[in-house]
Every structure is written in structure tokens, then in C-alpha cells.
Amino acid sequence: MRWRRIKDSLATRSMYLAVALANSIVFLVALGLFVKARPILATTSVVQLLFSSTWHPLRGQFGFYPFIVGTLAVTAIAMILAIPVCLLSAIYLSEYAHRRVRELVRPVIDLLAGIPSVIYGFWAVIVIVPLVRATGGALGSSTTGYSLLAGGIILAIMVFPIIISVSTEVLQTVPVEAREASLALGATRWETVKHVVVRSALRGIVASIVLGFSRAFGETMAVLMVVGNVPKVPTSLFDPAYPLPALIANNYGEMMSIPLYDSALMLAALVLLLVVAGFNLLAHFTLLRIERRS
């Protein structure tokens, strides 16, 4: 009996140790990046880092402005393209589709979520980039196709699964009675969707979009492969851009040989972590509240 107790208490302790470790990882990552980013924060003011557009690592000038604009632009394009498609698909799956169709589509969407980002990038290089080049040419702008638009399109595709699956789930938490009440008043199905279902699921839908946004914001490889990587503020959809994750990924090789370069890149990683974690927590709390209510 005594041995069994000891075993139990040992097991309990190691489980709590695992929990403590799992909980501390986020903080360890943030702390590690912060410590490495401190040298650059000590020499350059935050305002200058964020709003200067001169990027000359060799001269010690690190202005992140073009990269921040690049990240925001490519993410914004992705969201503009993805949101209508995803919400319409989710509404169809939740409100119109037969249960069998829903069960058939779900694993397919999961599959889309599981495809590695290099494969998306690879496909985008083969299919999207020539398409953008042709479109740009037809519109009278000479572009290589490696552009903001190409990055935005592939990112939009990559956030389809998360937005569709989360918002479908949220729509399904709306009580059937609410729909029945609306239909009984003579509303059409679409009117019911518009005025009752979507309205009461709005918070959750926003949360699904936020999750999609933060996924797109930190996505590296697929974007890196098609976005052109020119450190200038883009002025058109067909211009190349240079998002933050691509900046980190492209320069790890040389960053150790130039003073402060590694520090600047670690700061970029820290910014990514903080923005993405912030948005994820927002979505986490919103979805948690919805889960509790239903």
C-alpha cells in the first residue's frame, strides 16, 4: 500500500512538473527573444525602429517600416479575399448543407489545414505567380508576378480552413429555437441567417477571423516564396514586398557577421510573437465565452 502511495505521489509530481514546463514555454520564448533584442533597443529608439524606412544593416541602420507595411499589406489582402469566401462557405455548411455533406467536407477542410506551407508556396510559384504576372501585364503593369497580390492570394487560401472550421462550429452553437422562431414569423431562410443566426454568432465569427489573421500574420515560407522580398514600401498590388517573417528567414545566415543584425532580427521575431499571441488570446477568450454559454 505504501509503495502504491509513493508511486501515486511521484506520478502526480511529475505531471505537475510537465504542466509547469508547458506553461512556462511561452514566457521562456518571449524572454529569450527579449534578451537578444535588447542591444538594438538600447542603441535605437523604438519609434525609429518602427517608422524609419532605411534598412542598411552594414551601416547599423535598422528601420522596420517597409517590413511592417509589407506584413500588414499582405495580411490585409489575404483577409479581404478570404473573409467573404469563408463566411459564405461556413453559412452554407452550417445552415443549408445536409448533415452528410457537412461530415464529408470536414475532413477535406482538415486536409487543407494539414498541407505544409512549403507545398502551398510551391503551388503558388507554379500557379499563382504566372497568373498574377499575366493579369498585371494585361492591366499594363510590368510585374514579375512575385508580388504583394501573389502573397495575399496564397495566404488567403492558407487561412481558409481555420476560418471555415471555427465559424461553422460557432454558427452551430446558435439554438435551433432561435431559427424556428424566425422562420415561424415568415422569414426566409436567408433572412433568418442574416438577422438571427449571424447576428447572434457575430462574436464567434469575429474570433474566427482574428484566428485567421494571426495565422496569416506569422506565416513565413509560403509568403517568402512568392512575395518578391524587396525591402521597399509597396505602392501597388503588383509591387514586391518584404514581410517580417520573410526577413527573419532570409537573413539568418549573415546575421551573425554584422553587429546588431541578429538583435534586430530577434526583435522582429519578438514583435511577431507578441502580435500573434495577443490576437490569439483575444480569440481564445471570445470562443471560451461562447462555449460556456452553449
Binding site: 508511486k7 501515486d8 506520478a11 502526480t12 511529475s14 505531471m15 505537475y16 510537465a18 504542466v19 514546463l21 508547458a22 506553461n23 514555454i25 511561452v26 520564448v29 529569450g32 527573444l33 467573404p84 469566401v85 459564405l88 462557405s89 452554407y92 455548411l93 443549408y96 467536407v105 475532413p107 482538415d110 486536409l111 487543407l112 494539414g114 498541407i115 505544409p116 506551407s117 512549403v118 507545398i119 510551391f122 503551388w123 510559384v125 507554379i126 500557379v127 487560401i157 426566409t188 436567408w190 500574420f217 506569422g218 506565416e219 513565413t220 515560407m221 516564396m225 517573417p245 527573419i248 528567414a249 532580427l265 530577434m266 521575431a269 511577431l272 500573434v276 490569439n280 488570446l281 481564445h284
Partner: protein, 282 residues
């Protein structure tokens, strides 16, 4: 009335078009990668490591990347299980209180969304701190961070599904918590736990950004944990980036191999969970 019906019809058509677009894109990705890859694939791609002049279009294959990726993903899976399984067990009601459980779920969600390039950067910092260079070990460390939240959340879901009555029977017979956990919960949740591992494996093997700084790239198959290692995602990335069509074709083949492994993992997760659930009490 006519206008209302028209609106309904228009939006329904838009919805079908949207869903159709999503499914068509998926199909296009799979078909394009398969078709391009199949035309470039050969036996020597699978069995040989790169020979001299490989990156200029000469002889060789990507066996180094295939083996490297498997090493990385298996190693990271094992490392993740060591942390995920106890964490998932600890989230049961008889261990963690509500507060601790919800805090843990919160930090797992924060980890889940963290971009893999951030794990790569952090892994790089840790490696510099420990004084090791790009290596299999470094890649495994960074990848396991990426896998941890995926695995833990999926395991926890499976464990939460275990009927409370079964646990109560075990406790009423005088079993301790760990005995109940291992003999009842683990066995009941096993299909879900295995699915969780395979799921995380599939995600891990396809990730490139986290291993870019940490695992490096080499033409050789690693002999020890401290050797750098090649990987399939980076093989796709590097070979596609060269100006030689002959080498680019090898990127097609690499992409095909990677996609097939990921799809097999996803299929295996489904089949395994069905197979192991035969003896489960519901």
C-alpha cells in the same frame, strides 16, 4: 415576395460558389503537386544522396532529405510525447483544479498560434546558449515546441471523453489516481492519443520555418544528434530556388514525396483511431 426569394437564391448561389472554390483550390493543389511530381520522380531520387554537382543538375537523389525529415519528425514526436502526455493527464479533474487547467489551456492556445519562424529563432538562441551548431538535435528541439500544443490539446480532448463512471468504478475498487489513469484512462483514450501523435507528426514533418536555422542542410544522412541534417520541406524550398530547370524538377519530386507523407499521416490518424476504438467502452 419576389425580391426576397431572389435574394435567397442569389446568396445560396454565392455560398455554393464559395464552397466550390475552396474545394477546387484544394483539388488543384493536390493535382498539380501530384502531376508535376510524378513526372519528375525516379527511383534514384528516393534512394541516393546528392552526388557531386547535384545542384547543377548532375546525378543523385534526396534520400538525405527523406531520412532527415523522418529523423526530425520522429525525434520531435518522442520529445513532445514526454511532455504532452503527462500534461494532458494532469488536466483531468482529479489533478489540476479549474484555474490551473484553464491557465494551461490558455498558454497552449498561445503556443498553438505562435508562428513557426519564432520557434526557429528561439531554438537558435537556445542552441547558441548551449554551444551547439545547426544539428538534428536543434531541429528536434524547435520542432517539438511546434508539436507540443497540437499534441497536448488533441490528447486532452481524447482524455476528456473517457466516461466518468469508468473512472469511478476504478476508484471505488481502491485504485490510486495513477493506477486509474494508466489502467483505465490511458487504455480508453489510446485511439485518441495515437491520433494526436500522428496529427502532430504530420504537422511537424512539413514545417520548414522552425528548422531553417536549427537543423541546417547537408548532403549527408546524419550519423549523430549533433550532425546537421537535410529535410524535405527545405529540399523543396532550396531546389525550387535554383535557376536550373533540372534541379527545379527535383523540387517537384520532393514536394510530391512530402505531400504523400503528410496525406498518409492524416489517413493513418483516421484509420488508427477507428481500429483502436474496437475495444473501447462507451
Amino acid at each position: 415576395m419576389g425580391a426576397r426569394r431572389l435574394e435567397e437564391a442569389v446568396f445560396k448561389a454565392l455560398m455554393l460558389a464559395s464552397l466550390g472554390l475552396v474545394l477546387a483550390v484544394l483539388a488543384a493543389i493536390v493535382v498539380v503537386v501530384m502531376a508535376r511530381g510524378a513526372s519528375a520522380l525516379s527511383l534514384s531520387m528516393l534512394t541516393q544522396t546528392p552526388k557531386g554537382g547535384y545542384y547543377l543538375g548532375k546525378e543523385g537523389g534526396i534520400a538525405n532529405a527523406i531520412v532527415g525529415s523522418l529523423y526530425l519528425a520522429f525525434g520531435a514526436s518522442v520529445l513532445s510525447i514526454l511532455l504532452s502526455l503527462p500534461t494532458a493527464f494532469a488536466l483531468q479533474k482529479e489533478y489540476a483544479g479549474r484555474r490551473l487547467a484553464s491557465i494551461t489551456r490558455l498558454s497552449l492556445d498561445a503556443l498553438w498560434g505562435t508562428p513557426s519562424i519564432v520557434y526557429g529563432a528561439f531554438g537558435f538562441i537556445i542552441m547558441r546558449y548551449l554551444g551547439i551548431g545547426t544539428s538534428l538535435l536543434g531541429g528536434i528541439l524547435a520542432l517539438s515546441l511546434l508539436m507540443l500544443p497540437i499534441m497536448t490539446r488533441a490528447m486532452e480532448e481524447a482524455i476528456r471523453m473517457v466516461p466518468l463512471e469508468l473512472k469511478e468504478i476504478s476508484y471505488s475498487m481502491g485504485a490510486t489516481r495513477i493506477e486509474t489513469t494508466l489502467a483505465v484512462v490511458l487504455r480508453q483514450a489510446l485511439p485518441g492519443i495515437i491520433t494526436a501523435v500522428v496529427l502532430a507528426f504530420g504537422r511537424g514533418i512539413g514545417d520548414a520555418a522552425s528548422i531553417l536555422f536549427t537543423a541546417g542542410y547537408t548532403d549527408h544522412i546524419p550519423r549523430s544528434l549533433l550532425d546537421p541534417t537535410a529535410s524535405l520541406p527545405l529540399a523543396v524550398f532550396f531546389q525550387l530556388g535554383t535557376p536550373f530547370p533540372e534541379v527545379q524538377r527535383r523540387a517537384y519530386a520532393s514536394a510530391l514525396i512530402l505531400l504523400v507523407i503528410v496525406l498518409l499521416a492524416s489517413l493513418a490518424a483516421r484509420l488508427l483511431s477507428r481500429r483502436f476504438s474496437k475495444h473501447i467502452v462507451r
